[in-house]
């Protein structure tokens, strides 16, 4: 399995007043293509920061990060944006769907930013795949949490990125919906997509190929299931 993501000694800290918070420290991680990796840890352990750094939403302070063979330190902000658009799909705990847009329009949104017109069939196919095609003309306020998260997953897949980053995607869902959403990620991984999921759930983490545990910004466990 070739490595899609290679992180070597990456660190990230934030200033809070006079205090410096070391969110992640000296993290090294290789993630292979088609691998489904779960990142676990308590709140404040650095899970979200690690995902943000891998997703180029945050700049790393030190270390190196290579995505699909491209070292992000060599890239400008605009190039990183384009690389993020091509490589990554994001799913968050709070869905972040645009409340005034329908499910269909939310899924079509990445195409707008990429300057590509996504076909109606493609969007409906994605909605069908996540099981909410019948809700294509509903706004987020008219859908349940599980349905919104499915739409968010469909949106993450709109540009067919090879990597999906999900930050506690099941945090706002009941058990049944959480399992269904997790099943979707499993299916995507089987199709060759690299899935990185931050989760608190031991049960769901066990279903992943690999579990990485963080504590105080450092990796304390890195095991294959």
């Amino acid at each position: 399995m070739s490595d899609t993501i290679i992180a070597k000694g990456i660190s990230k800290s934030f200033k809070r007043g006079t205090e410096t918070i070391h969110a992640i420290q000296d993290i090294s991680l290789n993630i292979g293509k088609g691998e489904m990796l779960s990142i676990m840890g308590r709140s404040g352990s650095g899970k979200t920061t690690l995902l943000s750094c891998i997703g180029m939403l945050e700049n790393i302070d030190s270390g190196s990060l290579v995505l699909e063979g491209r070292n992000i330190k060599d890239l400008s902000e605009a190039q990183r944006t384009i690389l993020r658009r091509e490589l990554m799909g994001f799913v968050f705990q709070r869905f972040f769907l645009i409340p005034t847009l329908t499910a269909y329009e939310n899924v079509a949104l990445p195409g707008l930013f990429a300057g590509k017109k996504l076909g109606k069939d493609h969007i409906m196919e994605l909605l069908e795949m996540v099981g909410v095609s019948q809700r294509y003309d509903h706004r987020p306020g008219q859908m349940s949490g599980g349905e919104m998260q499915r739409v968010a997953i469909a949106r993450a897949l709109a540009l067919d990125p090879p990597v999906i980053i999900a930050d506690e995607p099941t945090g706002n869902l009941d058990t049944a919906n959480a399992e269904a959403v997790f099943g979707l990620f499993r299916k995507l991984a089987s199709q060759g997509k690299t899935i990185i999921i931050a989760t608190h759930s031991q049960k769901l983490a066990k279903d992943c190929d690999r579990v990485v545990e963080l504590m105080d910004g450092r990796i304390t466990r890195d095991e294959k299931n």
Partner: protein
Amino acid sequence: MSFIKLAFKGLLRRPAGFIASCLTIAIASLVLILSLGLSQGYDSALISNIDNLGANILAIPKGCPYEATGVILSGGNLRYAVAENQLEPIKKTGGVKIVSAVIMGQRAVGPYKKVHVIVGADENYHLMRPKLGFKKPFAENEVALGYKISQVLSTKVGDDFDIAGRTYKIAAIADKGSTEDEDLVFMNLKSAQKLLKAEGMLSSVLIQVDDPAQSDTVAKRLMTIPDLQVITIGDFQATISDFVSGARIAIFSVLIIIILIASVGILTTQASSVAERKGEIGMMRAMGATSGQVLFESTLESAILGFFWCHSWHCAWLCPLIQCQRTDQKKPSAIAEWKHHFNRLDFGHNDTGHSHRHINPGCLWPSQKRRQHKTNGGSFR
């Protein structure tokens, strides 16, 4: 999906904030349009009225030129008069093409005895003011009515018309909307002098010159005639422009403040909207939106907000004007305000006194002041 659609939908996210912003902008744009309209209407109506006067130069009795010109434009009694025997030297002045003597006063007219301005004019008046539509000079015992007064009193050509107990025959009615003189009663100069008990007196003399470009030169020659004050239309227009410019600066100052307030309104709404959508904006960035695209989307929302409501007010403002034109009504004009202002000055009923008063330097036209300044060797007396 397009940025415009996204921006429109974004605007509908907070209906209350959207409406509040719209109202702020709407009020600001309404004030802007009204103020600009008023300023422009005031300017153009005045200039048009001056043009309709048909004269290049006005000869008036010495006194305040603002007062005199205002009375001549809107109708009323002047406190001082030009002696009729000054007409001959005016006519003989080089460069003068045609001259019309005018006397004005107020008398109760018609069946309701309402006081109206009487304009007594000589045989050249209808030639100098063709827009009134009078075909021939007014004969003795004949009157011509402004369009409005004829409508109010339901009179027509050939009817009898009572002025201060004397009966006259209506010989003509002025064309509709031709000038601002729709409330006036026109009559023969001699008859008017007799009626106003001002034989041998004139309120003003309208002068047309051979070459309008030489108005100033002719005016200088006319100034040598004693007890006569001369105003060129150029002087008057320049002074009006000065007034209007001053008013415009004041209006624009207020407008700038209003626009600033409206801008702060939009800024506040957009700032709270952006703060509320921090997560969504982050999501957009995660989806691959560049910071320029996010900024563009937000700016587009503001632009739509501004454009949509400003445009709606333009429509609201234009519709009545279009309607006015369709029904052939006169456009609302600021000249009414001007008239009202001068009509409030009570110049007395029969007061056509004599012209022995010195000019108050503070009451000179700016261009006259400049001329006097030059004459006095650079110092005001």
